[in-house]
Homo-oligomer: 193 residues x 2
DNA sequence: AAAGATACGGAACATGGTTCCGCTTAGCAA
DNA sequence: TTGCTAAGCGGAACCATGTTCCGTATCTTT
């Protein structure tokens, strides 16, 4: 959207205080998400950033926008790890398994994120649009490679797989549950048999 | 707890209007759950039943109590189907697969129930206590039989499996997701390989 | 019919998301 | 430096929903 380098032709730049607030908000949100999960009260985040609630909504109209902004780097890292793993792994199936591990690691360490990912609430549209649009193609590439190599069944849809994995990560911090174990079953189930 | 046949010695029976209201609430809740999911507003259910909100809380202190009451019959049916399937199926693994299908059918047809099942909210304690206490042993029996027969890996925890399956059923009504497909992967992954 | 226990209704309170508008202030220009 | 203007801000106000509480109505028993 607002491509880099648009500084010289813009009619007016974003005000300095606005930029400061946006960064303070990102920092506060990151801290609050860690402490209280991604659905921490908006007021708490605003308070921690030292701004009013209106300022949050101005910069991040929906909660999903804020979540995306906070985790964009990590999602990006996960996305680029896909091709890398494919290149360096012994087999495509191994790459797929490693990559899913990465994704699961990401999800289970963000309290409430997996829950938010599956919500069909309109406010989380952005979350779907970004996370899935960015990661599903990567997953699809890995699936395709593994299928071509004959290691897995050929008709697995990447979006379904990603959503399922995301679902399995819900409640991963509960002591009586083991998301990784379930994900391992899924990965095993993919294998051609 | 309050065993049947306590009619003759009880100091005082439940008032007739109370019983009527309780039944009206169950009916209204069932209808509302179908129409608007298991987290429909309390006021809506009360209105449909023609009672005040206080009456809901008196009869069903938490939402989970109401959900359990509405679906008790179906959960019971699922529970008793376990041993039956084990007896009539070709192999324990086939019985396990069929039983999980039954469970998935139950979950995906109850909008929002899978979501509620995994909530760690204190109000859903009753839901965990009843659903899981009732179904996990059945699942454990099936798992044990299949493990003994050497059809599956022996160290799968029934609670983890049930929670995982429940998680996979979240968002099952979305057109871009396929809970059954994911569950099938899990079942396939259980198989000894 | 009277008395007492039981149950009811819904107002009132708590929480959290969202909107809106009067005020502040940064940035620009004279 | 001093205004001027629009971008940006704060937080009160509003809405939706869960939850509690108590004055009142109703049932059951005597």
């Amino acid at each position: 959207m607002s491509g880099a380098g648009g500084e010289m032709s813009a009619p007016r730049k974003q005000r300095a205080d606005a930029r400061r607030n946006q960064e303070a908000l990102l920092e506060a949100a990151a801290a609050t998400f860690v402490a209280a999960g991604v659905d921490a009260p908006v007021r708490d985040i605003a308070a921690k950033a030292g701004v009013g609630v209106g300022t949050i909504y101005r910069h991040f109209p929906t909660r999903a926008d804020l979540i995306v902004a906070v985790y964009r780097h990590q999602v990006e890292a996960c996305a680029v790890a896909g091709p890398a793993l494919l290149a360096e792994s012994a087999t495509p199936y191994a790459a797929l398994a490693s990559w899913i591990d990465l994704f699961v690691d990401f999800l289970v360490t963000k309290h409430g994120l997996a829950e938010a990912m599956q919500s069909d609430n309109a406010a989380f549209q952005t979350l779907h649009a970004y996370f899935l649009d960015r990661l599903v193609p990567v997953c699809a590439q890995l699936l395709d490679a593994a299928a071509t190599a004959g290691e897995i069944l050929p008709d697995m849809d990447a979006l379904v797989l990603m959503r399922g994995i995301g679902n399995l990560c819900i409640g991963a911090d509960s002591p009586s549950y083991d998301a990784r174990r379930m994900v391992a079953l899924v990965i095993a189930g993919l294998r051609r048999h």
